[in-house]
Protein backbone atom coordinates (compact mmCIF):
# COMPACT_ATOMS: atom_id res chain seq x y z
CA UNK A 1 0.00 0.00 0.00
CA UNK A 2 1.40 3.39 -0.95
CA UNK A 3 1.14 6.40 1.33
CA UNK A 4 -1.30 8.01 -1.10
CA UNK A 5 -3.47 4.88 -1.01
CA UNK A 6 -3.40 5.03 2.75
CA UNK A 7 -4.46 8.67 2.78
CA UNK A 8 -7.30 7.95 0.38
CA UNK A 9 -8.58 5.14 2.55
CA UNK A 10 -7.91 6.35 6.07
CA UNK A 11 -7.38 10.09 6.36
CA UNK A 12 -11.04 10.95 6.94
CA UNK A 13 -11.50 8.31 9.64
CA UNK A 14 -8.26 9.34 11.34
CA UNK A 15 -9.44 12.94 11.50
CA UNK A 16 -12.79 11.85 12.94
CA UNK A 17 -11.07 9.68 15.53
CA UNK A 18 -8.67 12.47 16.50
CA UNK A 19 -11.54 14.95 16.74
CA UNK A 20 -13.39 12.72 19.17
CA UNK A 21 -10.20 12.17 21.19
CA UNK A 22 -9.34 15.85 21.45
CA UNK A 23 -12.86 17.36 21.40
CA UNK A 24 -11.25 20.01 19.22
CA UNK A 25 -11.11 19.92 15.39
CA UNK A 26 -8.13 22.27 15.25
CA UNK A 27 -6.09 20.20 17.66
CA UNK A 28 -7.18 17.06 15.84
CA UNK A 29 -5.87 18.43 12.58
CA UNK A 30 -2.55 19.34 14.19
CA UNK A 31 -2.13 15.89 15.70
CA UNK A 32 -3.07 13.99 12.55
CA UNK A 33 -0.84 16.21 10.47
CA UNK A 34 2.15 15.71 12.75
CA UNK A 35 1.60 11.96 12.85
CA UNK A 36 1.23 11.65 9.09
CA UNK A 37 4.40 13.62 8.43
CA UNK A 38 6.28 11.12 10.58
CA UNK A 39 4.45 8.17 9.05
CA UNK A 40 5.23 9.39 5.56
CA UNK A 41 8.90 9.57 6.46
CA UNK A 42 8.86 5.93 7.56
CA UNK A 43 6.36 4.64 5.05
CA UNK A 44 8.83 2.23 3.49
CA UNK A 45 8.55 0.27 6.73
CA UNK A 46 5.01 1.09 7.87
CA UNK A 47 3.53 0.41 4.45
CA UNK A 48 4.77 -3.16 4.59
CA UNK A 49 3.05 -3.90 7.87
CA UNK A 50 0.03 -6.16 7.93
CA UNK A 51 -2.11 -3.41 9.46
CA UNK A 52 -0.60 -0.01 8.70
CA UNK A 53 -3.89 1.69 9.61
CA UNK A 54 -3.79 0.23 13.10
CA UNK A 55 -0.21 1.34 13.53
CA UNK A 56 -0.92 4.91 12.43
CA UNK A 57 -4.05 5.04 14.58
CA UNK A 58 -1.90 4.07 17.55
CA UNK A 59 0.50 6.85 16.63
CA UNK A 60 -2.45 9.25 16.79
CA UNK A 61 -3.49 7.87 20.17
CA UNK A 62 0.04 8.19 21.53
CA UNK A 63 0.38 11.68 20.10
CA UNK A 64 -2.86 12.66 21.81
CA UNK A 65 -1.68 11.24 25.12
CA UNK A 66 1.67 13.06 24.96
CA UNK A 67 0.15 16.15 23.37
CA UNK A 68 -2.08 16.60 26.34
CA UNK A 69 0.99 16.65 28.54
CA UNK A 70 2.55 19.46 26.55
CA UNK A 71 -0.46 21.70 26.20
CA UNK A 72 -3.10 23.21 28.40
CA UNK A 73 -6.57 21.84 28.04
CA UNK A 74 -8.66 23.27 25.27
CA UNK A 75 -11.82 25.13 26.08
CA UNK A 76 -14.83 22.90 26.37
CA UNK A 77 -16.30 23.02 22.88
CA UNK A 78 -19.87 24.06 23.57
CA UNK A 79 -20.00 25.48 20.07
CA UNK A 80 -20.05 21.95 18.74
CA UNK A 81 -23.44 21.28 20.24
CA UNK A 82 -25.24 22.94 17.36
CA UNK A 83 -23.68 20.57 14.92
CA UNK A 84 -24.64 17.36 16.68
CA UNK A 85 -27.12 14.90 15.27
CA UNK A 86 -30.72 16.10 15.09
CA UNK A 87 -32.37 15.61 18.47
CA UNK A 88 -35.44 13.43 18.84
CA UNK A 89 -38.49 13.69 21.12
CA UNK A 90 -37.36 16.38 23.52
CA UNK A 91 -34.69 18.44 21.82
CA UNK A 92 -33.91 20.65 24.78
CA UNK A 93 -33.25 17.84 27.23
CA UNK A 94 -31.18 15.79 24.79
CA UNK A 95 -29.07 18.76 23.81
CA UNK A 96 -28.52 19.67 27.43
CA UNK A 97 -27.46 16.10 28.18
CA UNK A 98 -25.12 16.07 25.22
CA UNK A 99 -23.67 19.40 26.23
CA UNK A 100 -23.07 18.04 29.70
CA UNK A 101 -21.53 14.89 28.25
CA UNK A 102 -19.26 16.85 25.92
CA UNK A 103 -18.11 19.04 28.76
CA UNK A 104 -17.52 15.98 30.89
CA UNK A 105 -15.64 14.14 28.13
CA UNK A 106 -13.39 17.13 27.53
CA UNK A 107 -12.50 17.22 31.23
CA UNK A 108 -11.72 13.52 31.57
CA UNK A 109 -8.09 12.53 32.23
CA UNK A 110 -6.50 11.67 28.92
CA UNK A 111 -6.27 7.91 29.36
CA UNK A 112 -9.85 7.72 30.62
CA UNK A 113 -10.96 9.75 27.63
CA UNK A 114 -9.03 7.58 25.20
CA UNK A 115 -10.50 4.45 26.78
CA UNK A 116 -14.04 5.84 26.51
CA UNK A 117 -13.53 6.85 22.88
CA UNK A 118 -12.08 3.47 21.96
CA UNK A 119 -15.00 1.70 23.65
CA UNK A 120 -17.98 3.87 22.74
CA UNK A 121 -16.83 5.40 19.46
CA UNK A 122 -14.64 2.66 18.02
CA UNK A 123 -16.40 -0.30 19.62
CA UNK A 124 -13.14 -1.86 20.84
CA UNK A 125 -12.98 -4.70 23.34
CA UNK A 126 -11.12 -4.41 26.66
CA UNK A 127 -8.25 -6.40 25.16
CA UNK A 128 -8.05 -4.14 22.11
CA UNK A 129 -8.10 -1.02 24.26
CA UNK A 130 -5.42 -2.48 26.52
CA UNK A 131 -3.21 -3.08 23.50
CA UNK A 132 -3.86 0.40 22.15
CA UNK A 133 -3.09 2.12 25.45
CA UNK A 134 -0.34 -0.23 26.56
CA UNK A 135 -1.98 -1.23 29.84
CA UNK A 136 -3.80 -4.19 31.36
CA UNK A 137 -7.45 -5.02 30.76
CA UNK A 138 -8.06 -4.38 34.45
CA UNK A 139 -6.74 -0.85 34.04
CA UNK A 140 -8.97 -0.41 31.00
CA UNK A 141 -12.04 -1.43 32.96
CA UNK A 142 -10.99 0.92 35.76
CA UNK A 143 -10.55 3.83 33.31
CA UNK A 144 -13.94 3.24 31.73
CA UNK A 145 -15.72 2.69 35.02
CA UNK A 146 -14.40 5.95 36.47
CA UNK A 147 -15.07 7.87 33.27
CA UNK A 148 -18.62 6.64 33.01
CA UNK A 149 -19.27 7.52 36.67
CA UNK A 150 -17.94 11.03 36.01
CA UNK A 151 -20.05 11.47 32.89
CA UNK A 152 -23.18 10.17 34.56
CA UNK A 153 -22.62 12.61 37.39
CA UNK A 154 -22.26 15.41 34.83
CA UNK A 155 -25.63 14.52 33.31
CA UNK A 156 -27.22 14.24 36.73
CA UNK A 157 -25.97 17.70 37.63
CA UNK A 158 -27.33 19.08 34.38
CA UNK A 159 -30.74 17.54 35.04
CA UNK A 160 -30.86 18.92 38.56
CA UNK A 161 -30.05 22.40 37.28
CA UNK A 162 -33.10 22.26 35.03
CA UNK A 163 -35.57 21.11 37.67
Amino acid sequence: MTFEDFLNQRLASLLRYATVLTCDPVQAQDIVQDVLVRAQQRWSRIGRMELPAAYVKRMVTNEFLSWRRRRTDVAVPFATIDALSPPVSDPTIVIDQRAALLAGIARLPRKQRAAVVLRYYDGCTDEEIATELGCSTGTVRSHISRAVATLRAAIQTEQELHR
Partner: protein
Protein backbone atom coordinates in the same frame (compact mmCIF):
# COMPACT_ATOMS: atom_id res chain seq x y z
CA UNK B 1 -30.47 3.71 32.45
CA UNK B 2 -27.28 1.95 31.40
CA UNK B 3 -28.54 1.33 27.86
CA UNK B 4 -29.85 4.86 27.51
CA UNK B 5 -26.60 6.26 28.80
CA UNK B 6 -24.55 4.08 26.46
CA UNK B 7 -26.63 5.19 23.48
CA UNK B 8 -26.39 8.82 24.47
CA UNK B 9 -22.62 8.57 24.88
CA UNK B 10 -22.21 6.83 21.53
CA UNK B 11 -24.44 9.37 19.79
CA UNK B 12 -22.56 12.24 21.38
CA UNK B 13 -19.18 10.89 20.31
CA UNK B 14 -20.35 10.18 16.76
CA UNK B 15 -21.87 13.63 16.62
CA UNK B 16 -18.55 15.08 17.74
CA UNK B 17 -16.81 13.15 14.98
CA UNK B 18 -18.91 15.05 12.46
CA UNK B 19 -16.96 18.14 13.49
CA UNK B 20 -13.75 16.67 12.08
CA UNK B 21 -11.80 19.07 9.87
CA UNK B 22 -11.80 18.64 6.14
CA UNK B 23 -9.03 16.37 4.96
CA UNK B 24 -7.98 18.80 2.25
CA UNK B 25 -6.24 20.98 4.83
CA UNK B 26 -4.11 18.06 6.00
CA UNK B 27 -3.37 17.00 2.44
CA UNK B 28 -2.25 20.52 1.62
CA UNK B 29 0.00 20.62 4.67
CA UNK B 30 1.47 17.23 3.79
CA UNK B 31 2.12 18.47 0.30
CA UNK B 32 4.02 21.46 1.65
CA UNK B 33 6.03 19.26 4.02
CA UNK B 34 6.28 16.25 1.72
CA UNK B 35 9.23 14.12 2.64
CA UNK B 36 11.65 14.12 -0.29
CA UNK B 37 12.64 10.56 0.53
CA UNK B 38 9.18 9.38 -0.37
CA UNK B 39 9.79 9.96 -4.03
CA UNK B 40 13.28 8.60 -3.82
CA UNK B 41 12.23 5.36 -2.21
CA UNK B 42 9.94 4.67 -5.10
CA UNK B 43 12.73 5.41 -7.53
CA UNK B 44 15.21 3.32 -5.57
CA UNK B 45 12.80 0.40 -5.56
CA UNK B 46 12.34 0.62 -9.28
CA UNK B 47 16.04 0.64 -10.02
CA UNK B 48 16.44 -2.66 -8.25
CA UNK B 49 14.57 -4.24 -11.10
CA UNK B 50 16.90 -2.92 -13.78
CA UNK B 51 19.55 -5.13 -15.33
CA UNK B 52 22.89 -5.81 -13.67
CA UNK B 53 25.53 -3.19 -14.35
CA UNK B 54 28.19 -4.08 -11.79
CA UNK B 55 30.11 -7.31 -12.38
CA UNK B 56 30.03 -9.67 -9.44
CA UNK B 57 33.28 -11.60 -9.18
CA UNK B 58 33.88 -14.74 -7.24
CA UNK B 59 36.64 -14.78 -4.63
CA UNK B 60 37.51 -16.87 -1.59
CA UNK B 61 39.44 -20.07 -1.40
CA UNK B 62 39.72 -23.49 0.16
CA UNK B 63 42.41 -22.43 2.61
CA UNK B 64 39.85 -20.38 4.54
CA UNK B 65 37.44 -23.09 5.60
CA UNK B 66 34.26 -22.17 7.42
CA UNK B 67 33.56 -23.46 10.92
CA UNK B 68 30.87 -26.04 11.66
CA UNK B 69 27.36 -25.09 10.71
CA UNK B 70 28.39 -22.93 7.79
CA UNK B 71 27.38 -23.59 4.22
CA UNK B 72 30.40 -23.27 1.98
CA UNK B 73 29.82 -20.61 -0.63
CA UNK B 74 32.12 -18.04 -2.16
CA UNK B 75 32.12 -14.40 -1.16
CA UNK B 76 31.05 -11.86 -3.74
CA UNK B 77 33.18 -8.89 -4.71
CA UNK B 78 31.83 -5.53 -5.85
CA UNK B 79 33.92 -2.53 -6.84
CA UNK B 80 32.14 0.79 -6.43
CA UNK B 81 32.31 3.30 -9.29
CA UNK B 82 32.68 6.50 -7.26
CA UNK B 83 35.34 8.11 -5.12
CA UNK B 84 34.84 10.80 -2.51
CA UNK B 85 37.69 13.32 -2.59
CA UNK B 86 36.68 15.32 0.48
CA UNK B 87 35.04 14.35 3.78
CA UNK B 88 34.49 16.21 7.05
CA UNK B 89 37.14 15.45 9.71
CA UNK B 90 36.57 12.42 11.93
CA UNK B 91 34.62 10.30 9.48
CA UNK B 92 35.74 6.88 8.33
CA UNK B 93 33.97 4.47 6.02
CA UNK B 94 32.03 2.00 8.16
CA UNK B 95 29.65 0.28 5.79
CA UNK B 96 28.87 -0.64 2.21
CA UNK B 97 25.82 -2.25 0.72
CA UNK B 98 24.76 -3.39 -2.71
CA UNK B 99 21.40 -4.42 -4.06
CA UNK B 100 21.01 -7.82 -5.62
CA UNK B 101 22.11 -7.28 -9.20
CA UNK B 102 24.30 -4.33 -8.30
CA UNK B 103 21.99 -1.59 -9.55
CA UNK B 104 22.01 0.34 -6.27
CA UNK B 105 25.10 0.92 -4.13
CA UNK B 106 25.61 2.61 -0.79
CA UNK B 107 28.67 3.80 1.12
CA UNK B 108 28.33 4.79 4.79
CA UNK B 109 30.70 7.00 6.79
CA UNK B 110 30.47 7.41 10.53
CA UNK B 111 32.50 8.72 13.46
CA UNK B 112 32.72 5.16 14.84
CA UNK B 113 31.39 1.66 14.19
CA UNK B 114 27.74 1.49 13.16
CA UNK B 115 25.05 -0.17 15.21
CA UNK B 116 22.69 -2.60 13.49
CA UNK B 117 19.89 -0.05 13.55
CA UNK B 118 22.04 3.05 13.74
CA UNK B 119 21.89 5.90 11.27
CA UNK B 120 25.25 6.73 9.67
CA UNK B 121 26.52 10.28 9.80
CA UNK B 122 26.89 10.32 6.04
CA UNK B 123 25.73 7.98 3.27
CA UNK B 124 26.27 8.14 -0.47
CA UNK B 125 23.91 6.12 -2.63
CA UNK B 126 24.40 5.51 -6.33
CA UNK B 127 21.61 4.17 -8.51
CA UNK B 128 20.25 4.24 -12.02
CA UNK B 129 19.55 7.80 -13.21
CA UNK B 130 17.62 9.93 -13.13
CA UNK B 131 16.44 10.99 -9.70
CA UNK B 132 13.80 13.68 -9.97
CA UNK B 133 13.37 16.21 -7.17
CA UNK B 134 9.98 17.52 -6.19
CA UNK B 135 9.29 21.23 -6.21
CA UNK B 136 10.31 21.68 -2.58
CA UNK B 137 13.98 20.93 -3.28
CA UNK B 138 16.50 23.73 -3.42
CA UNK B 139 18.78 23.94 -6.44
CA UNK B 140 22.52 24.04 -5.59
CA UNK B 141 25.73 24.38 -7.62
CA UNK B 142 27.97 21.29 -7.39
CA UNK B 143 30.76 22.54 -9.67
CA UNK B 144 31.94 19.80 -12.00
CA UNK B 145 29.02 17.62 -10.89
CA UNK B 146 26.51 20.13 -12.23
CA UNK B 147 23.36 21.10 -10.43
CA UNK B 148 22.15 19.29 -7.34
CA UNK B 149 18.91 19.48 -5.39
CA UNK B 150 18.89 19.86 -1.63
CA UNK B 151 16.19 19.18 0.96
CA UNK B 152 15.96 18.90 4.73
CA UNK B 153 13.89 16.40 6.63
CA UNK B 154 13.22 15.95 10.30
CA UNK B 155 16.17 13.65 10.90
CA UNK B 156 18.40 14.07 7.86
CA UNK B 157 19.54 16.30 5.04
CA UNK B 158 19.53 15.08 1.45
CA UNK B 159 21.30 16.14 -1.72
CA UNK B 160 20.72 14.48 -5.09
CA UNK B 161 22.30 14.92 -8.50
CA UNK B 162 22.44 13.05 -11.78
CA UNK B 163 25.22 12.05 -14.10
CA UNK B 164 24.80 10.15 -17.36
CA UNK B 165 25.88 6.90 -15.70
CA UNK B 166 24.58 7.24 -12.15
CA UNK B 167 22.18 9.16 -9.99
CA UNK B 168 23.58 10.04 -6.59
CA UNK B 169 21.91 10.69 -3.28
CA UNK B 170 23.91 12.00 -0.32
CA UNK B 171 22.23 11.67 3.09
CA UNK B 172 23.49 13.35 6.24
CA UNK B 173 22.11 12.73 9.68
CA UNK B 174 20.66 15.92 11.13
CA UNK B 175 22.95 17.34 13.76
CA UNK B 176 26.04 16.02 12.01
CA UNK B 177 26.61 18.32 9.07
CA UNK B 178 25.05 21.43 7.63
CA UNK B 179 24.15 22.35 4.10
CA UNK B 180 27.58 23.77 3.16
CA UNK B 181 29.40 20.62 4.29
CA UNK B 182 27.06 18.34 2.38
CA UNK B 183 27.38 20.40 -0.77
CA UNK B 184 31.17 20.29 -0.46
CA UNK B 185 31.17 16.50 -0.14
CA UNK B 186 28.88 16.14 -3.15
CA UNK B 187 30.99 18.48 -5.25
CA UNK B 188 33.99 16.27 -4.53
CA UNK B 189 32.47 12.99 -5.71
CA UNK B 190 34.27 11.69 -8.79
CA UNK B 191 34.05 8.59 -10.98
CA UNK B 192 36.61 6.04 -9.89
CA UNK B 193 37.16 2.50 -8.66
CA UNK B 194 37.20 1.70 -4.97
CA UNK B 195 38.76 -1.23 -3.23
CA UNK B 196 36.08 -3.94 -3.32
CA UNK B 197 33.23 -4.74 -1.00
CA UNK B 198 33.34 -8.47 -0.31
CA UNK B 199 30.03 -9.80 0.93
CA UNK B 200 29.76 -13.19 2.59
CA UNK B 201 26.13 -13.58 3.66
CA UNK B 202 23.14 -14.23 1.41
CA UNK B 203 19.56 -15.30 1.79
CA UNK B 204 19.31 -18.85 0.54
CA UNK B 205 15.61 -19.42 -0.01
CA UNK B 206 14.13 -17.26 -2.73
CA UNK B 207 10.68 -18.56 -1.88
CA UNK B 208 10.95 -16.85 1.49
CA UNK B 209 13.02 -13.71 0.83
CA UNK B 210 12.58 -12.05 -2.55
CA UNK B 211 16.04 -12.15 -4.17
CA UNK B 212 15.38 -9.23 -6.51
CA UNK B 213 15.04 -6.66 -3.73
CA UNK B 214 17.59 -7.95 -1.24
CA UNK B 215 20.57 -5.88 -0.15
CA UNK B 216 23.92 -7.32 0.90
CA UNK B 217 26.72 -5.53 2.67
CA UNK B 218 29.37 -5.33 5.33
CA UNK B 219 29.79 -2.90 8.22
CA UNK B 220 32.58 -2.27 10.68
CA UNK B 221 32.39 -3.22 14.34
CA UNK B 222 33.88 -2.14 17.63
CA UNK B 223 36.01 -5.33 17.68
CA UNK B 224 37.47 -4.58 14.29
CA UNK B 225 35.93 -7.69 12.72
CA UNK B 226 33.69 -6.88 9.75
CA UNK B 227 30.01 -7.77 10.09
CA UNK B 228 28.40 -9.08 6.91
CA UNK B 229 24.69 -8.44 6.66
CA UNK B 230 21.69 -9.05 4.41
CA UNK B 231 18.39 -7.20 4.32
CA UNK B 232 15.37 -8.45 2.43
CA UNK B 233 11.66 -8.44 2.02
CA UNK B 234 9.86 -11.73 2.48
CA UNK B 235 8.29 -13.00 -0.73
CA UNK B 236 5.08 -14.27 0.75
CA UNK B 237 2.07 -11.97 0.63
CA UNK B 238 1.13 -13.07 4.10
CA UNK B 239 4.49 -12.11 5.45
CA UNK B 240 5.22 -8.75 3.87
CA UNK B 241 7.90 -7.59 6.29
CA UNK B 242 11.50 -6.53 6.40
CA UNK B 243 13.90 -9.17 7.59
CA UNK B 244 17.62 -8.86 8.22
CA UNK B 245 20.50 -11.15 9.05
CA UNK B 246 24.04 -10.47 10.16
CA UNK B 247 27.06 -12.45 11.27
CA UNK B 248 28.89 -10.92 14.22
CA UNK B 249 31.58 -11.85 16.70
CA UNK B 250 29.80 -9.89 19.42
CA UNK B 251 27.19 -11.85 21.37
CA UNK B 252 23.95 -9.99 20.75
CA UNK B 253 21.78 -8.75 23.59
CA UNK B 254 18.34 -9.94 22.53
CA UNK B 255 16.65 -9.25 25.85
CA UNK B 256 14.70 -11.90 27.70
CA UNK B 257 15.13 -15.24 25.93
CA UNK B 258 11.73 -16.86 25.38
CA UNK B 259 12.70 -20.02 23.55
CA UNK B 260 15.89 -22.01 23.04
CA UNK B 261 16.07 -24.04 19.84
CA UNK B 262 18.62 -25.74 17.61
CA UNK B 263 19.42 -24.10 14.28
CA UNK B 264 22.02 -25.34 11.79
CA UNK B 265 22.91 -27.87 14.46
CA UNK B 266 23.86 -25.08 16.85
CA UNK B 267 22.14 -23.67 19.95
CA UNK B 268 19.97 -20.64 19.28
CA UNK B 269 17.90 -18.18 21.29
CA UNK B 270 14.65 -16.53 20.29
CA UNK B 271 13.01 -13.45 21.77
CA UNK B 272 10.17 -11.13 20.85
CA UNK B 273 10.13 -7.41 21.45
CA UNK B 274 7.41 -4.78 21.52
CA UNK B 275 8.64 -2.21 18.99
CA UNK B 276 8.87 1.41 20.04
CA UNK B 277 9.05 2.48 16.40
CA UNK B 278 9.25 0.81 12.99
CA UNK B 279 13.04 0.69 13.19
CA UNK B 280 13.15 -1.76 16.07
CA UNK B 281 12.69 -5.50 15.49
CA UNK B 282 9.74 -7.46 16.77
CA UNK B 283 11.50 -10.85 16.81
CA UNK B 284 15.16 -11.81 17.04
CA UNK B 285 16.82 -15.18 16.58
CA UNK B 286 20.48 -15.48 17.58
CA UNK B 287 22.37 -18.62 16.56
CA UNK B 288 25.63 -19.43 18.35
CA UNK B 289 27.91 -20.46 15.50
CA UNK B 290 30.95 -20.99 17.72
CA UNK B 291 32.79 -17.71 17.96
CA UNK B 292 30.31 -15.92 15.76
CA UNK B 293 26.58 -15.27 15.99
CA UNK B 294 24.11 -15.41 13.15
CA UNK B 295 21.42 -12.90 14.12
CA UNK B 296 18.14 -12.81 12.22
CA UNK B 297 15.76 -9.95 12.95
CA UNK B 298 12.21 -9.43 11.79
CA UNK B 299 10.47 -6.05 11.70
CA UNK B 300 6.72 -6.21 12.05
CA UNK B 301 3.91 -4.30 13.64
CA UNK B 302 3.66 -6.44 16.75
CA UNK B 303 5.68 -9.32 18.18
CA UNK B 304 4.57 -12.86 17.41
CA UNK B 305 6.05 -16.03 18.85
CA UNK B 306 4.64 -17.84 15.83
CA UNK B 307 7.26 -16.26 13.60
CA UNK B 308 9.94 -18.42 15.20
CA UNK B 309 9.58 -21.02 12.46
CA UNK B 310 10.06 -18.42 9.75
CA UNK B 311 13.17 -16.96 11.36
CA UNK B 312 14.55 -20.45 11.91
CA UNK B 313 14.00 -21.25 8.23
CA UNK B 314 15.74 -18.04 7.17
CA UNK B 315 18.68 -18.86 9.45
CA UNK B 316 18.83 -22.47 8.29
CA UNK B 317 18.98 -21.45 4.64
CA UNK B 318 21.37 -18.49 4.87
CA UNK B 319 24.38 -18.97 2.62
CA UNK B 320 27.53 -18.05 4.48
CA UNK B 321 30.98 -17.66 2.99
CA UNK B 322 34.26 -17.47 4.87
CA UNK B 323 35.01 -14.00 6.13
CA UNK B 324 36.68 -12.03 3.38
CA UNK B 325 38.88 -8.94 3.77
CA UNK B 326 37.28 -5.53 3.36
CA UNK B 327 40.24 -3.19 3.43
CA UNK B 328 38.14 -0.05 3.13
CA UNK B 329 36.60 -0.36 6.63
CA UNK B 330 37.94 2.37 8.86
CA UNK B 331 39.60 4.30 6.06
CA UNK B 332 38.52 7.60 4.55
Amino acid sequence: MSTDFDHLLRDTLHGLAERAPDESAVRAALGRRRRPAFALIAVAASVLLVAVTIPLLRVGGPADLPPAGFTQVAAQEVTFPMEVTWLPPGLTEQGRGVSAGGTALSRHWHTGPLDADGMPDLTLHAMRPPLSPSTVWESVDLGANGTGFYAEEEDRRILIWNTPEWAYQLDSRSGFAGRETIVRVAAGVRPGRTTPLRTSLEFGDSALVAPSVATYGVRGSATGAPIPYAIGQPSSDGYSRTISAELTEVEPDIGEVELEVTVRGQPARFATHRPTDPMTPTETLAVDMGGRWLVVRNYAEAPDLGRLSTLVHVAETMRIAPTAPNEWIGTR
